[in-house]
């Protein structure tokens, strides 16, 4: 099934440009088919939320876009360039356009908070150390952790670690931000703060975002488009008002009934 998340052309008349395209993507882990011939297209600047029961293939899509796992069949293109197979150089180009925030934060425990953020801009983008640090401080200020530059990640709370991880991903100035259940590992009282931060970021930038989440309120707030997954397929898609208020598919109703 094909899902187009085409944005209305902006008032200036510029046409939306497709940034991500998946065609017939299939992924199996042993006998388990996680993605079953999936088609998906995401335009630049869109905020797309992937919802559905666990094991329905949502995270696998993000991991493929980040080149952490390969599809068994189908093609994936990012900004017009095909991944899998792709020469090493192109893979590196595409990776630079994409940032990812993980469920378990995955900060580097052997580096200070500041170096977690500056490491890639210096080593990958060739930014000077001073420039990278200045930018890192701005980002830490944005995520509300300006005073934690020299702290070790392990000394921070989960919520703080996730804020640093968000700053780290943004430091690479990605066109696309992938959020993989970023609040699932957090203590309940820390969830709201991280979601508020993400709301601000999404609203104040033109970043394209793909988000896997079980926070339906957050999904409703930030998405242009919600994709409902079940057993490796997208069974329903639409703007959040429609999906959350008048879902068409029986499975969507069941799922929302269970999580809301």
């Amino acid at each position: 099934m094909s899902v187009e998340t085409t944005k209305q052309p902006a008032a200036t008349g510029t046409l939306p440009t497709e940034l991500i395209r998946l065609e017939g993507v299939t992924k199996r882990f042993g006998d388990n088919t996680v993605l079953d011939g999936l088609d998906l297209s995401v335009d630049a600047g869109r905020h797309v939320t992937l919802i559905g029961p666990s094991g329905s293939g949502k995270t696998t899509i993000l991991r493929m876009l980040m080149t952490l796992t390969e599809p068994d069949e189908g093609t994936i293109t990012v900004d017009g360039q095909q991944l899998f197979p792709a020469p090493e150089k192109r893979v590196r180009e595409i990776r630079k356009k994409i940032g990812m925030v993980f469920q378990q934060f995955n900060l580097f425990p052997n580096m200070s908070v500041l170096r977690n953020i500056t490491e890639a801009p210096v080593r990958v983008l060739g930014m000077s150390k001073d420039e990278a640090e200045a930018r890192a401080r701005e980002l830490l200020d944005l995520v509300g952790l300006a005073d934690k530059c020299d702290a070790r990640p392990t000394r921070l709370s989960g919520g703080q670690q996730q804020r640093v991880a968000i700053a780290r991903a943004l430091a690479m100035r990605p066109q696309v931000l992938l959020l993989d259940e970023v609040t699932s590992a957090l203590d309940p009282e820390l969830v709201a703060g991280v979601l508020d931060l993400l709301r601000d970021i999404v609203r104040s930038t033109d970043i394209t975002m793909l988000c896997v989440t079980h926070e339906m309120g957050f999904a409703r707030d930030i998405s242009d488009q919600v994709l409902m997954f079940d057993s490796g397929r997208i069974i329903e898609t639409g703007p959040p008002e429609k999906i959350f208020s008048e879902p068409e598919h029986e499975r969507t109703r069941e799922f929302l009934g269970a999580v809301l």
Partner: protein, 216 residues
Amino acid sequence: MTWDWGAVADFMPYFWQGLLVTLEALALGSLIAFTLGLVWTLLVRTPTRWVRWPVGVFTEFVRDTPLLVQLFFLFYVLPETGLTLSPLTTGILGLGLHYSTYTMQVYRAGIEAVPAGQWEAATALSLPVRRTWTAVILPQAVRRVVPPLGNYVISMLKDTPMLMTIGVLEMLGRARLVSQQHFQFTEPLTVIGIAFIVVSYLASLLLRTLERRLVR
């Protein structure tokens, strides 16, 4: 059995010489074992099968044959190929090579204990593979490998007397020489026994300090 302090005094000048040789063998042997072990670990993880396979077989072979046999091989067979080394150099190489096949497994365990999420974060940040190893994976692995590596240092210390068999005058070699000349075995052997305990203890203290400094 009587204890003769005079015999102790007679032995001490030789003891110090022996101690120095033992410490030299231990220090250089450890250095080789630590670096060579890391080289093995990284080679075994390369994508090239023609590198992985021979390294795997060679290190397995070295690990599963006795150190003493390897020392004899290095000492008596290597010269036939035209490479003649002093007994001490041969001994250090033997110890280092033998123990590198153990430290290799320590490194492997240390590397595998670094969570997959660390690799994934490095990929997501486009860090080059080499940089991922040097800045992310190895620094985290090092913390985990210090205690087991320390145990192998102690173990290597206790294997240094084997070097006596190829003519290295380390502590036991000295003790035996002096004992046989004076027919007094108790004193020299007791002195080196105590020396082994003291060196192990100091080494473990050193390693514990190192460990504390690394694990923050």
